[in-house]
């Protein structure tokens, strides 16, 4: 039986945009999101291009549109487990993990106060902690707590339930299976930061004061573990000398065999974060500084910073001294001099790996790098398709909505 509903897999910026564009012209859309919240990677940023807005800014508008569009149905903490059928007629099975918190939650935070166990925060990429009853970030949508029952003791769970005055905690919550019939599927599963443990010559994630660019976003974010202060992880000292290592995994056939598109601009943006907060010296080591389109102007303005040096040469070795200061080795390709330089903190501009990489993606094909290739009724959007910035992700979401509508129109 034909169906004109649309499924959007992944509720990041591209997915939300695709869902809204289709729903606002009358189609029924389901967003399936694996996280407890919508907004994807944008939600984790401190500021995002092109205008360096805080993520709450753009996402608030999108969330408002979702609230005003009953055609959009959001299923969080859920994964697609099977897809069958063909364009115009898909049967999709979705498994939803238990949240243990129902829609009565007001986010008062009493449950969080009632628990003691702290675990590493996924949202902060391991540089912060969270309780077992938690809200990932202040502008979380849906605005509802999550209980991490796997990491909580029986007594702690009982305490959490007791603390809730709204009867919002449901400890009997269990995994659910949802069957959907849809006509088209938008795959906007996004990206994950490249796993630094593969970059053995850059410390492989074991050096304390070597962080990734996404961890750096969390350090700079007001809602992050340091409340927006840039402090190095080992001793919470303010770094006075910071290095950025570009192409940490990107443009490398041993790792990601493509340019991740955003990292050069992200590092230049990070230079701005630093300059807003301190007068630390910053060095950016690069192969080529790639500033697509009008971003070149951003580079020109950032570059005028006297305490910023841009050095052509890829860092190929990082070790740390006894005090945890990272030491990078690099050949400046313009002067032909190889030096070892000590920094207080190093930021690896790790690349974008499609979330689908290494997974078997249902009902659609991927290229050798793991990026999703469009099928007949299955359309890729955002960074699942190729590395993009937020603006272009949104554009690709709109384009995907159009193609999805073309698939289901008239059915």
């Amino acid at each position: 039986m034909s169906n004109n509903s649309i499924l959007v897999v992944g509720g990041g910026f591209a997915g939300i945009t695709a869902a809204l564009e289709a729903a606002e012209v009358g189609y029924e859309v389901y967003i399936v999101e694996t996280n407890p919240y919508l907004g994807g990677r944008v939600a984790q940023l401190n500021q995002y291009f092109p205008k360096l807005c805080p993520p709450s800014c753009g996402l608030e508008i999108q969330f408002q549109r979702i609230k005003n569009t009953p055609n959009v149905k959001v299923i969080t903490m859920a994964e697609v487990t099977s897809v069958s059928g063909s364009a115009g007629n898909y049967d999709v099975k979705i498994t939803q993990r238990p949240r243990y918190v129902n829609e009565k939650c007001t986010s008062c935070g009493d449950c969080e106060k009632a628990c003691t166990t702290k675990v590493e925060s996924e949202f902060d990429f391991g540089i912060g902690t969270r309780k077992v009853a938690y809200k990932t970030h202040p502008f979380m949508f849906p605005m509802r707590y999550v209980i991490d029952a796997d990491n909580a003791s029986e007594s702690e769970l009982a305490a959490i339930k007791d603390a809730c005055t709204y009867d919002a905690v449901n400890l009997d919550d269990a995994p659910k299976t949802i069957d959907l019939a849809v006509g088209a599927i938008v795959v906007s599963t996004g990206w994950k930061p490249y796993d630094v443990s593969n970059l053995t010559n850059l410390g492989g994630g074991t050096l304390k004061n070597v962080v990734t660019n996404m961890q750096f976003e969390r350090l700079a974010a007001p809602s992050g573990p340091t409340n927006g202060k840039i402090l190095r992880p080992s001793d919470s000292a303010e770094p006075k000398k910071i290095a950025f290592v570009q192409c940490a995994g990107s443009r490398d056939q041993n790792h990601l065999n493509y340019c991740s598109y955003i990292c050069c601009m992200a590092s230049l943006k990070h230079v701005r974060y630093i300059r807003e907060r301190s007068d630390a010296n910053v060095t950016v080591y690069y192969i080529d500084l790639r500033t697509p389109g009008r971003y070149d102007k951003f580079k020109a303005i950032t570059e005028s910073d006297e305490k910023l040096s841009l050095v052509k040469g890829k860092v190929a070795d990082i070790v740390e001294d006894a005090n945890g200061n990272p030491i990078v080795t690099v050949e400046n390709a313009l002067t032909g001099i190889k030096t070892e330089e000590k920094f207080d903190m190093v930021v690896l501009a790790t690349g974008m790996e499609p979330s689908a990489a290494g997974h078997q993606v249902l009902a659609c094909s991927t290229d050798t790098d793991g990026f999703v290739i469009d099928g007949e009724g299955i359309i890729a959007a955002g960074c699942a398709k190729q590395p993009l910035d937020v603006m272009k992700s949104a554009q690709s979401g709109t384009a995907a909505a159009m193609k999805a509508i073309q698939t289901v129109v008239g059915r």
């Binding site: 490398d252 040469g313 190929a316 690099v330 390709a333 190889k338």
Partner: protein, 422 residues
Amino acid sequence: MSNTVKVQPDLNFIKELQAVGGDSLKKCYQCATCSVVCPLSPADNPYPRKEMVWAQWGLKDRLVNDIDIWLCHNCGACSDLCPRGAKPGDLLAALRNMAYRSLAPLPIIGKWMSSSSGLIPLAAIPALLYGIIWFIMGSRLGSFLPKFELVDHAWVPVKEGGQIAFGGLFPGDYTIDPVFMIVFAFMIWAFYSGVRNMLKAFDGQPKTFIVGRKKEPSMIAALINTVQYEILQHTQFLDCNEEDADELDIKRATGHRWLMFAFIMLMVVTGIVAGTHWGGWFLTFMGIEGLGSIVSAIGHTPMPLYHPVKLLAIVGAGLGVYGLIALTKRRVNLDEAKQSSSWYDWYLITLIWAIFLTGIGALIFRILGAAVLAYPIYYVHLISVFMMLAYLPWSKLGHLVYRTVALSYAKKIGRIPMGSDK
């Protein structure tokens, strides 16, 4: 901004380089990972990034006169970590191959040595020479697989019984020693000329003034230093390993060292045999007959297996095979996507295998009395030894002279420090 340099690319040179093993050099995008991960590359103007850009630009003058290609010991760390698969290690190996081809005189030998098609003329020279000798001697002796008895220090052919004597079929005084002395002299002449060309090229390069450097060491002092550290102790070679090198890579340096000692031992053996033989002859000729016959007796062949010189030869052969196994195992297991082997590599390793296996085989089958195997194997042994010695300056083995000279020169000008430091 007026000192603009106009780059004059030599396109033929780029094609030549790509042909001798630098086929992936165009993939390089100058990220400089290679220079950083190289465990030997110095801080000032490190290699091999600059060589990659010179190669892409076709700057022939810079590359063929570049001393740094001899500082590289080809561990492959640069190629392993190269994000583009541009194989800088292969480029430096290709440049060394070009040097083997062009440094010594007689370009025809260089051309023959550069590809497998040249193998036929190269092998034909010793094969014909010793084939003719075998034919003539076999006709005279009445058998092409003769057996002998030792009568009064001379091999007398016998129809029944007797033993195999290579010296009976190929008399050393007439068919071995003179030929190899000429070959040796030819090799020395070619090396002399090659080294002169090499030093002339190095001298033409711009010099670096090093602040605070003491008086420049003499070439002799640098040479002695190189022999002491880089050659006998393999200091650079043992350092030439990436941090997470696997076992095969680590064994490469030790295997090479054992093989080198094996050659030194076999050289000593050959020296004793030839020295005592001709020394004894000379003493007898001078009228000191008593001492002459004692000296002759020391190195008289075939030696019994318990003879110290024979024992040294057997130990040398064993060490050589051990070293060869380590080197071959690594080369066979190289990841082709990262590091490839050229004709120069395979030629040399196969030739040395041939020398060792035929040497050992000739000994074994001689003792067993299997003439039909012993003589042909010995014949192949003669051909392979001839090929190694006569064409040495044009082969990869030429590094034993060229690399030694280059490292000594590098120490003299301060490109690398004296002693074991990098």
